[in-house]
Every structure is written in structure tokens, then in C-alpha cells.
Amino acid sequence: MGGLLDYLPGESIIHRLNPLVKLILSFGLCVSCFLSDSIIFVLSVIVINILLSMMARVFARTLLVFLSLIKFSTLLFIIQILCVRQGEILLNLPLGLYITDKGLMFSLLFISRLIAAAMPLSLTLSVTRVVDIANVLVSKLRLPYKYAFALTAAIRFIPLFSSEMAGIMEAQTARGVDFETKNFLKKIRLLLPLCAPLLISSVRKVEGSAISAELRGFNLRGGSSGYKQYPFKAVDYSALCLCAALVVVSVML
């Protein structure tokens, strides 16, 4: 299962940053592209994202994310550009549709913001274990452990569900169900009955891990129970400074 959001192990400087710093950094990157109205700035945020991913040696993944974002945004771009009616008309289209200069700028800015804001999310999850994010939220931000655990569990269950579903479909194929059919309605009809086993096995799994967490003393756990410490280092401080600088620049531009 090659999800776009799961962790890619590595030893790069980006990997070794404090998880909290990585969160703040990605948040900063997102916020700054919404604060700034300059398309040049937003495009440079995309470039920064790509540079960061190269530093973390996860460029291939980022490229994939970037391409799928482009695909999605192209669609949005087309809808956007046809909907904006202010500004000077650049091009007249049939059906009373036209493209304006404002519409063009607005849509370009819109999709580049979207791309620039989505990339840090994928990057952060690619270079940080979800457990580390949860732990640092508990130890540094005093988030109750229960919520942090819910977060990690939820993210961990996504690939689990999808592999479970793949397994169930496999089992039905082995009994002669033909999922390769092109007929969409027929496919839906074949897939619907599979919801029951998926739901049941998932609920069983969730229940199982809840009970096993309970049995291992989950409720006794407090903020200080984590055995892993997340100290801030010099790199972390400098990364934070860079991030702050970026946000300041975004406000000015």
C-alpha cells in the first residue's frame, strides 16, 4: 500500500527536527500563503516545499503529491476561471462564458495557494511518525493523552482498513465474484455486501485494540508517562526563526 501520507523512514536533518517544530513549520507555510496576496510569494512557498523535500530525501513522494494536486487543481481552476465575471474580458467562449484577467489571476492564486498549503501536510507526515506527533503534543502542549492516542489510532487505522478491504475483495474474487467488470452499477451491487464484513472486522479490531490498551494500563497514563523526550536543539530554534521570518514577509507582501 503506497499511501501518500505514511511515514518514510530517514535520517536527514528534516527527519531529526523536533516534531513540534515540524508541525509549526508546516502550519507556518500554510498560513503564510494565505496571508500573502502575491502569487510570486506563493509560488516560492511551493519551491521551498520542494527544496525541503529534497533535503529530507522524499522528493519522489513529493513529486507524486504535487502531480496529483495539479490534476485536482486543474479541475478547480477551470471551474473558478469561468465563474469570476469581474475584470476585463480576455477571451470569449460559447454559451455566454468568458475569461477575465481578474478571473485568471484569482484562479491562479487560488490553486497555487491550495497546492502550497497541501504540500507541507504531506511532507510533515512523510518525515514524522504519527506517534511522535502525538507524544510531543502531550508533552509540550499538554494535550490529554486520550486525544493524542485517538489521533494516532485514527491515522494508523486508515491503511489498515484499506488493506482489510483489499483482503476481503480478494477473498470474494477467490470465490468467483468478478470485480473486474466495467459496469459501474454491477460493481456497486457486488461491493455493497462487502461492507458488512469490513465493518465487522474493523469494529472487532478497534474493540480489540481498545481492550488491549485498557489491559496495558492506558488509563493510568499521565502527561509525564512518555519515555521519549523531545528537547529543542539549535536547529529547531533556527528553523522556527526562519518560519517566523517567512510569515512576516508574507504579511508585508
Partner: protein
């Protein structure tokens, strides 16, 4: 019936996968794959019915080359029991569950076969499959495969989680089907079951086939078995251990024949002494 030719396979993640496995099952054979956890037994099973396609080499099953035949078509002639029965169950009653596979295979006397299965396994057809115990769910999944009486059955650990009586009953039924011409390929960790029911053993270790021969011989090859982290079944082990002293005992595969051989030998001894 089933033929693997220099089959290589790897999951895209790291790990050994399957390397250069070749064997052929003739129609009517009863073979068991044995090997350590993670040896690739389930992977081989999936390769055999086209759920996985070999990255090189060919798998031919029931006249189809799995690389270019639809698995759902192969499934009509090849029954498959998964290691995890829950993935297979998807209907709301046990009866519907058992009938399910037969619908695709176009079995005409589905109703009768289903009732036969329910009786054989002592199952209640009106119950909900997911409310059953682990062992009972295994039975339902197995029943739905056996009911179709396919030409080849691939069974991934059919007897795990079953009590002794249930295990014997199922294996006896499989043996009956086998005697009527069904080819059986089974994975099992239970050496006693393998010894009692299978005729041919395929020993798998680290994704490679390291042994292929009659179960009788394989059970006596302690070096081979230990390579695959296996312990021979007790009776052949016992037979090998005491075999040096008594003629014929090395051939024994069940308790009765050991006792008989030993008695014969003792009788011979005593006649000699007195």
C-alpha cells in the same frame, strides 16, 4: 492440474517473497505445504489461483495460465480457503454463505449439497456467521469451499482453531473428496494432520522450496525439517528413534503399526533367546 515453473514473486516492500519455486500437482494428488511462519506458504497459495501473478515463471492451474486469466474465472474450478475465515464471510446467514460460492460455479443441486454440509459440520443454517465462534466461522468458510466440490482445493490452514473431533471430521471429508478425484493442496502447521492425511510434502523455507517428496520420507528427514523450523510428527520421530533396533519399524506411520512391528520383533527376539 497445477504446475509452477520457476516462479519468482516479491511483494513490492522488502522481504524475500518467493524464489524459483517449481512443482507440479497431478490430478488427484493430496499435497501439504509445510514451513516456518513467513516462509511464503500463503503467498504460494495465492499465486496458485491467480490472486497474485508471478513476476517471472509461469503458474498453470486447471488449464489456465494465471498471468492472463481472470481470477474469478479460475475460481470456478479452484476452491480456496483463506487463512483468515472472516474475510470470506459476507452473507447474513450460514446457509446463504455456503450457497454463495455455488451460485457462481453454477452448481445445480446447491440446496441439497448445502444441507449435506450443514449436517456434516453440525452447523445451524439460520444463524448469523459473524456471531459464531472462531472455530465455527472456520467451519462455515470451509464448508462453503467444500460444498462446491471443485477440481482443485487450496486450503490455507484448514484445521487451525478446530477441536480434535472437528478436525478429524473435516479431514476425513476432504480425504473422501480426494478419493473421488479432487486434487488437494493444503497448508498446515500440524505435522500430525499432515502425516495422517497428505501423501506428498512440500517443504518451504525463506521463500524457497527445500524439500519435495512423500510425507513418509519427509517426516524422517530431521535435518530438512529443522531447516524450516519444524519438528517431525511424533510417531515417525519415535519410529526413527527406535528404528535401529527393530526391523520394519522405520516404515511405521501410525501407533498401531509401531506396536505391531515392535511386537513382531519382540516375538522374534524371544524365540531366538529361548
Amino acid at each position: 492440474m497445477l504446475r509452477l515453473d520457476g516462479v519468482h514473486f516479491s511483494y513490492n516492500t522488502e522481504g524475500q517473497g518467493i524464489q524459483d519455486v517449481s512443482f507440479e500437482l497431478k490430478s488427484g494428488e493430496f499435497a501439504a505445504i509445510i514451513g516456518e511462519n513467513g516462509a511464503g506458504k500463503s503467498t504460494i497459495c495465492r499465486l496458485c489461483n491467480g490472486l497474485l501473478k508471478p513476476s517471472s515463471g509461469t503458474v498453470t492451474v486447471a488449464g489456465f495460465d494465471t498471468s492472463n486469466a481472470k481470477t474469478s474465472r479460475i475460481a470456478r474450478d479452484v476452491g480456496f480457503l483463506f487463512q483468515n475465515p472472516d474475510r470470506q464471510l459476507c452473507q447474513s446467514t450460514v446457509r446463504e454463505e455456503i450457497m454463495f460460492g455455488m451460485g457462481f460455479a453454477g452448481v445445480s443441486e446447491a440446496e441439497e449439497r448445502c444441507s449435506e454440509m450443514l449436517e456434516l459440520f453440525g452447523l445451524d443454517g439460520k444463524k448469523e456467521p459473524f456471531g459464531l465462534s472462531r472455530g465455527e466461522r472456520q467451519l462455515v468458510a470451509l464448508a462453503s469451499v467444500l460444498a462446491r466440490e471443485p477440481g482443485l482445493m487450496i486450503l490455507d490452514e484448514p484445521t487451525t482453531g478446530l477441536d480434535y473431533m472437528e478436525c478429524t471430521r473435516i479431514m476425513d471429508h476432504i480425504t473422501r473428496l480426494n478419493e473421488n478425484g479432487t486434487t488437494v493442496l493444503m497448508v498446515s502447521h500440524d505435522m500430525e494432520v499432515v502425516l495422517d492425511y497428505a501423501h506428498r510434502g512440500l517443504v518451504l523455507s525463506g521463500g524457497r522450496l527445500i524439500g519435495d517428496g512423500s510425507v513418509h520420507d519427509i517426516m524422517r528427514d530431521a535435518a530438512l525439517l529443522s531447516k524450516a523450523s519444524l519438528l517431525p510428527a511424533q510417531i515417525p520421530a519415535l519410529a526413527v528413534a527406535i528404528g535401529g533396533r527393530f526391523i520394519d519399524i522405520d516404515r511405521a506411520d501410525d501407533m498401531a503399526s509401531i506396536v505391531e512391528a515392535e511386537a513382531n520383533a519382540l516375538a522374534g527376539d524371544s524365540r531366538g533367546e529361548f
